[in-house]
Symmetry: C2
Subunit: 369 residues, 2 copies
């Protein structure tokens, strides 16, 4: 925007920005925001409703400011799913992993510090860097959207950031960063006094789960791993992101976090979901089947899908991705134009939703390629 009223003292470096966000359109098949397509089962719905009832009477009181019970449950989940020893003192939770990222940039960024990410990647890293006044360095990936250690290290040494973002599996490309590459980047970061934030929002969908940066926690104090309950846990509406890091990192976040940032209701609903982790995570295999089906079918149609470790697939080529996006929308299928010329991103849905997408893309592919 640039037509701000004269009386409004909006920050100069924000004047040209517009609010982030995918269009919220009411169409039959929504495969645009990487949501888990499976709605919650009756047993979890009942648990959530009854758990909220049990705490609702006392909502006149502030919540547990440090969310101790929730952080212990998150530590248990991570430990049992990864085999890595994780104590609740090493976990942290906030309203979505966006808020965790904001707290990291508030504590360790600011206008005297810099952060780097390797694009195309999750665009909120750069946006939150900007709103927190942190200098942003737009690093780059290889042309196949992978990240190799030599290139990353060279870019880091050139720019000397305090914060290094690695998204793995990466959004919007679906590509993972191997544990060897992450280790090499962490060695460089340690020499330079930088933190490495590994954004693992899609970790549960990866084909090789042992690539998670959780396995590097014992080796490097400066690794921060962010996760979310929005995707694998099917909890996008609850807004619960979390972090694993050294207690000293969490001490620093406690300086910048807003007091009582996590409501009693959010803590309660997230705890209920963690009690039902088994059922919720059962959806992952079904989603991976649809993801791989999308990749196979798009390949058969002559598209070039990027190999994905997430719950979505980036694919092309299109001469004009905006035209293709709109043609799909006219067929009742909403996917995402991530601003990458020639590409579009589709979320793996239920079998039915995925079929609707595949039929629509097959119909429009002649006219839009």
């Amino acid at each position: 925007m640039s037509d701000w009223p004269k009386w409004l003292p909006i920050r100069h470096d924000l004047r040209e920005l517009s609010p982030y966000g995918a269009p919220q359109l009411d169409v039959p098949t929504r495969l645009n925001t990487n949501e888990n397509p499976y709605s919650l089962n009756e047993s979890l719905v009942t648990d959530i409703s009854e758990s909220v009832r049990a705490i609702a009477k006392d909502l006149n009181r502030y919540p547990d400011r440090d969310a101790l019970a929730l952080r212990a449950a998150l530590a248990d989940y991570l430990q049992s799913s990864s085999g890595v020893a994780i104590s609740s003192q090493k976990t942290w939770a906030a309203n979505g992993s966006n808020e965790v990222i904001q707290q990291i940039l508030q504590a360790f960024g600011g206008h005297e510090h810099a952060a780097i990410g390797f694009t195309p990647s999750y665009s909120m890293h750069a946006l939150i860097a900007r709103t927190t006044g942190t200098n942003w360095i737009d690093g780059h990936r290889d042309s196949d959207f992978t990240l190799n250690a030599a290139s990353a290290i060279s870019q880091i040494k050139d720019s000397r950031p305090q914060i290094i973002f690695i998204t793995s599996p990466n959004n919007p490309t679906g590509t993972s960063v191997s544990i060897e590459t992450k280790r090499a980047i962490l060695e460089t970061a340690s020499e330079l006094g930088a933190l490495v934030v590994v954004d693992e929002a899609y970790a549960e969908f990866a084909r090789t789960r042992t690539d998670s940066a959780l396995h590097l926690l014992g080796e490097f104090p400066n690794v921060l791993v962010t996760r979310t309950m929005s995707k694998a846990f099917a909890m996008a509406g609850t807004r619960l992101g979390y972090l694993v890091a050294e207690p000293a990192v969490i001490d620093a976040l406690m300086i910048v976090r807003l007091p009582y940032h996590l409501s009693a209701v959010t803590q309660t609903v997230a705890l209920a979901a963690l009690r039902h982790a088994g059922e919720l995570l059962e959806t992952i295999e079904a989603i991976k089947v649809q993801r791989d089906r999308i990749t196979a079918e798009l390949t058969r149609m002559g598209f070039n899908p990027i190999p994905s470790d997430a719950n979505f697939v980036l694919f092309g080529p299109f001469t004009d991705s905006k035209v293709a996006w709109k043609a799909l929308l006219e067929h009742g299928v909403l996917i995402r134009d991530v601003g990458l010329p020639g590409f579009l991103r589709v979320t793996a849905g239920t079998a039915t939703e995925t079929t609707a997408f595949l039929e629509a893309i097959e119909e429009i592919r002649q006219e839009t390629r």
Copy 2:
């Protein structure tokens, strides 16, 4: 803190800070955080539980990013309680008024801008200014904790801030700023291109409700009024703060807000509370009775309570407020040491809680004065 590990790139200007927050102690009578002492009634508990049940199935989907239904309900409440015409386009909501304040400082602050507050006042204004990198100007009140227009205007003209905080009723003093003083400050702010944020967290407890800055909305585009559901609405555990301002202000906040910052559960619970506004706000009169009882009784005991328009009373004098605070704690009554030498702050509780406080303070007053 100052013993941060060497490898941690914490911002230099945050190194000496410690996390904000009142001690979370388990004592019989907690009158330290200005909570509403009345737990929710069964009818509201049932409405909350059933409303959450109704949306829980779809928690796999992201919430309404712009919280349109909730903002409309907040506009309705404000309009009916103040008589001022307020559209939903002029309202905004976030996770507590702290998050609203953070968004304001992110959009209009930053290291090239400055904010002023008149202390002693709500300490989060200065703290959030600091974490958002905004230059903070520590303005001052008169010795009786009131704010007079000439002094405020002179301080504003000297420091030329972009953001002016006025807390009314003020925390921790309970004192209000008259509408004439607010109008005079707004006239100066308009000349200087500054915004005036009137923090009205305790507005519903004021003796003169027509002093609300809501009545200045039509006169000045640069007035922002923040409110909360934590106090009068007895919803501290829900974390719902809100704002009334010109749509252009809200457009700017939408650039810095985290996408989907307000969970579907929070929106649902807040909407349920607004449906029960009548019952919830009935607690206000009872709380005001206890507040005025505290003032009268403390005066009788020889203390000097500051006249309060909020749900708490600041009082003194103490030769050592820390000693008095601890003596009360030993009597099972937790109140707040707000860091103002010679003073302590007590929240008006139920009649029983207030009695417990008054009995304890009478017992200890000889030893601690």
